[in-house]
Point group: C2
Chain length 240, copies 2
DNA sequence: TCAAAAGTGTTGTACGTACACCCATGC
DNA sequence: GCATGGGTGTACGTACAACACTTTTGA
C-alpha cells in the first residue's frame, strides 16, 4: 500500500433514548446548515483527528445534552457509509446508542439549544422525517435497545441510581411497547442473581404500600433472560 | 459545517470463518508491506471512493478467496478507529464477519496466494500473533458467530447446500466448542418451524443408518432458540 | 451378526403465564 | 374504612437435559 488513499470524512451520530412520562423519546437537533437545513436529525459531528470513536461520541453527547458519563449507557451500534448518503462528500458515520434517565434538557445557551426530545414511536413512523439516513439508524438503535433489555441489565440505564421495581417495569413496558404483569415481573427480576441490590430503604412515591428501593447490581448478563411477549421483532437492517 | 473536515482512511477487514476437519478455521494473509511486514493479518483493504462498505467487503472477499456470494454469509461486525491503531495514518476500519462452507483455497496465482486457513482457537490464544488490533476483531467476530448460532439459521452457512442433521450438529459443536447430544439436537432442529426443508433424499455418507438430507429453510429467526450449554460468554469488546 | 449412526419415547426439572390472595401505606 | 399499589402462593403448561430404546444400514 502506498501512502495514497481515498480520503473520507468520518462522523459519529447518536441515538439517544430516554423515558419521559412513560414514553420513549429520542433526542433530535434541528440542522442549522445545508443540506437538510431546518430538518431534525440525530445529534452528531465530525470525529477529531486525535480522538477515538467512543471518545468522539462521548464528546458530542456532552456538547449536545450537557450529559456526562457514566450517568448514561453508551455503546457502538453500527456504521453507515453508502456513497451518496451525504450529498456534500463521502461520509462514513459510526452510530452509537445512548440510554439516559430522564434529564433536564436542553440547556439553553449552549450548542444544544436547538435540541429537543421527540416521541420515538412517531419518529419511527416518519413524523417528522429525519435528515440523511437517520430514520434507519434510529430504527436499528431502538431494535437494539429492545433486544438488549431481555438479556442485559440495560433497563437500569433509564432509571435514576435508586429506583423501585415498578419504575423498572415501566421502563420495560415503554421500550417494548407491551404491558408486563407486575407480579410475575417482580418475582423474575428479584430472582435473577446480581441484577438488583436492595438499598434497605422504602418509598411510597408510587402510592400504595411502600416499595423497596434498589440499586443496579453487578450482573452484566441476565440469567434467565426476561422474555418479551412474542412480538414482531424487526430484523436489523444490516448496516452498510 | 464548512467543507473542511479531517481526512481519514477507511478500510474494511474480514473475519472469514469456515470448518475444516471438524475445527473452526480463520482466513489470514501474510502482509507484504510495512508495517507488520510478513505478519499474518485479517484480509481487507481500502474502501474505494465510489463503493459502499458492504460492497467493499464483498470485493475484498472475492479478491482474497475467489469466493462469491451468496455462497457465504456476510454481515457487518463493528468499527475500530483508535488513533494509533495504524502507525502510518488515521485509519477507521469497518469489520465484517463472513461464514463459508469448506472451500478449495487459496487459489494460486491470484492476490490470495499468501492466504491460508489457520485454526481459530490457537489464533485466539495468540499463536501466531496478528497484525494491528486484528486479534481483538477476531475475538469479537467469533463471539458474534457463537451467539448467532443460537437464534438464527446461520449454521447452515458453514454447510454445503444439502446436508444432514449430523453435519449441522458438527457445525454447532465446532463453533461452540462443546459436545451436543445428537438425539435432543435432532428433535430440536426438526421441530423449529422453517429451519430445515427435507429434500426427500437420504445418504449413508456418515455410515450407519441412512440420514435424511435437508436444505436450509425459509426461517430467519429460530424459535425456540438452540441454547448452548452454559459457557463463559465473552462480553463484546465495545469496539471503538 | 455386529458396529455405527439415525431417530423415538419417557421422565424429572426448570421456568413461564395466569390469577387469587394478603400486606402496608395515604386519605 | 377503602383505594392503591407492593408482594406471595398456587396451578397448570411448555420446553429442556438425560438417557433407555428401536431402526436401518455397511462390513
Amino acid at each position: 500500500m502506498s501512502s495514497e488513499f481515498p480520503p473520507f470524512a468520518v462522523t459519529v451520530d447518536l441515538v439517544v433514548l430516554t423515558l419521559r412520562d412513560g414514553h420513549l423519546h429520542t433526542l433530535v437537533v434541528d440542522r442549522g446548515v445545508e443540506p437538510f437545513i431546518g430538518v431534525p436529525a440525530l445529534p452528531g459531528g465530525f470525529v477529531h483527528p486525535e480522538e477515538g470513536l467512543t471518545e468522539a461520541a462521548r464528546r458530542e453527547l456532552a456538547e449536545e445534552t450537557g450529559l456526562r458519563l457514566p450517568e448514561a449507557h453508551l455503546e457502538q451500534l453500527a456504521s453507515y457509509g453508502d456513497p451518496g448518503r451525504d450529498p456534500r462528500m463521502r461520509v462514513v458515520t459510526v452510530a452509537y446508542l445512548a440510554l439516559a434517565p430522564d434529564l433536564p434538557l436542553p440547556v439553553a445557551g449552549t450548542d444544544a439549544s436547538d435540541s429537543r426530545w421527540l416521541p420515538t414511536d412517531t419518529l419511527l413512523e416518519g413524523a417528522p422525517p429525519l435528515a440523511f439516513d437517520h430514520a434507519r439508524i434510529l430504527r436499528d438503535g431502538v431494535e437494539r435497545a429492545r433486544a438488549k433489555l431481555e438479556y442485559s441489565p440495560l433497563a437500569t440505564a433509564f432509571c435514576p441510581p435508586e429506583f423501585t421495581i415498578a419504575e423498572l417495569r415501566r421502563v420495560y413496558e415503554a421500550v417494548w411497547g407491551t404491558p408486563v404483569d407486575p407480579r410475575n415481573f417482580h418475582r423474575k427480576v428479584t430472582g435473577v442473581d446480581g441484577f438488583l441490590t436492595p438499598t434497605g430503604d422504602t418509598t411510597t412515591r408510587d402510592g400504595g404500600r411502600p416499595a423497596q428501593v434498589f440499586r443496579r447490581g453487578p450482573a452484566t448478563l441476565l440469567h434467565p433472560p426476561l422474555t418479551r411477549p412474542a412480538a414482531p421483532r424487526t430484523p436489523p437492517s444490516a448496516a452498510d
